[in-house]
Symmetry: C2
DNA sequence: TAGTGGTCTAGACCACTTG
DNA sequence: AAGTGGTCTAGACCACTAA
């Protein structure tokens, strides 16, 4: 039992972290079980559990029933990226937001999009291209395919005023999705829309959202040169 | 009180999710307090708390004392990217891993690096450039600066055999860090090392790790063309 | 100042998994 | 079979903050 009791799960977590960082508990080491730690720290087991579970969620501990808790050998670095609505992202940076609809058409999607969204080959879908600007400068191209089942024909006219990016968030719920980060060279089209040179390196986010397996929309966001996305570890 | 009791926090979470997805509880709505939900679901308040807290962590609910719990109006999409050790990432994809040290020198870092790592302007640091290959093809360039305080001169020779990326994980603990994703065009150097054309778009990860504020290392990972990083939402 | 979420406790039972 | 983490409960008190 230590002299100062650890009466909050945060303080327990800090103590455990300190022991890991000081290498008193090294990667791969088995640490004492919850009951023993609770006694040592002078708190309830649930409190220890909360702390250890949190550290395990963050990837610093490996826990298995019966096998016990070990310090992770390869602390998988989890980086959590927050992906805001584009209008907010621009406003948060202190710039004036602008939006322009470039094109809206109901056509047969390319097979690549059909595959991702699991569409039949003969169904038309809504294709929308628009651009978001910050202080008048192009910020990102939004190139989106919409499953018409989730957006009625009447609703589509709203995209003259509000970006699909923003409208969908509050009007169509989703249950799962995938997201992908990559890089591409600006072609003639992108260079024109983003007013940059052909061949410049652009940051790209692809995102598909679904409601109970069924695809709602698939979007490709092509950012102007220099864009980057940051977070803490 | 519903007929079927919800006796696990997961089932409570599912029920709450179902109500959000069915728009019974819409974005911005105030939902009942924990005590009421506990009674309705026939479980303890702690169980409801666990479920709601988890949903709040995922960004689907906004919770504030006294103000209550609301369905998030702009469900901030949190994407959690898992950043494995490069050797493992390549092995997981079923390729044969290779590693080559390109350069290791103790020199004055450029001011850009000094700023990020908060170095004095006159202190030398260890600069290491190496390359990771998959089935013999260049996969990623690792361009790293090391704070000499954390790695002794004797230890540096190990990087002939093991990449800093892998060695650091198990030998030097860190407490915080920043990570940044971006895109760049291949210059002459990158094109040479990655055997790609000059001007191709490359995906880049910058990462700095610290131990109690003090910078340990700052690395830039420049991936071969076509690299992308994916995750679920 | 009152209502809400945040957390702790002590005890209990269960689920998993290793030896 | 037994040890470990995972979770539930009921009750309690606390911390924050909107009204």
């Amino acid at each position: 039992m230590t002299d100062t009791p650890f009466n909050s799960w945060q303080s327990v977590q800090e103590e455990v972290l300190a022991r890991i960082h000081s290498r008193q508990w090294k990667p791969g080491d088995l640490i004492p079980n919850e009951a023993d730690l609770a006694q040592e720290f002078g708190c309830a087991r649930a409190t220890v559990n909360r702390a250890l579970q949190n550290l395990a969620d963050e990837g610093l501990l490996d826990r298995r029933r019966k096998a016990g808790t070990r310090v992770a050998t390869h602390p998988v670095r989890k980086a959590t990226m927050y992906i805001p609505v584009i209008r907010q992202e621009i406003a948060d940076k202190g710039h004036e937001y602008g939006y322009e609809l470039i094109c809206s058409e109901r056509v047969l999607p390319p097979t690549e999009v059909c595959n991702i969204m699991e569409f039949g080959r003969r169904a038309r879908a809504q294709h929308i291209v628009c651009i978001h600007t910050a202080d008048g400068r192009p910020y990102v191209i939004e190139d989106r395919w919409l499953n018409p089942k989730w957006v009625s024909v009447e609703e589509i006219s709203i995209f003259n005023e509000i970006s699909p990016n923003e409208w969908l968030v509050t009007h169509v719920p989703f249950t799962e999705g995938e997201i992908m980060f990559s890089a591409m060279s600006a072609g003639k089209t992108e260079a024109g829309l983003l007013s940059c040179k052909e061949g410049e390196a652009l940051f790209v986010i692809n995102r598909t959202t679904r409601n109970k397996q069924e695809a709602i929309t698939s979007v490709r966001l092509i950012f102007a040169p220099g864009y980057r996305i940051e977070t803490g570890i």
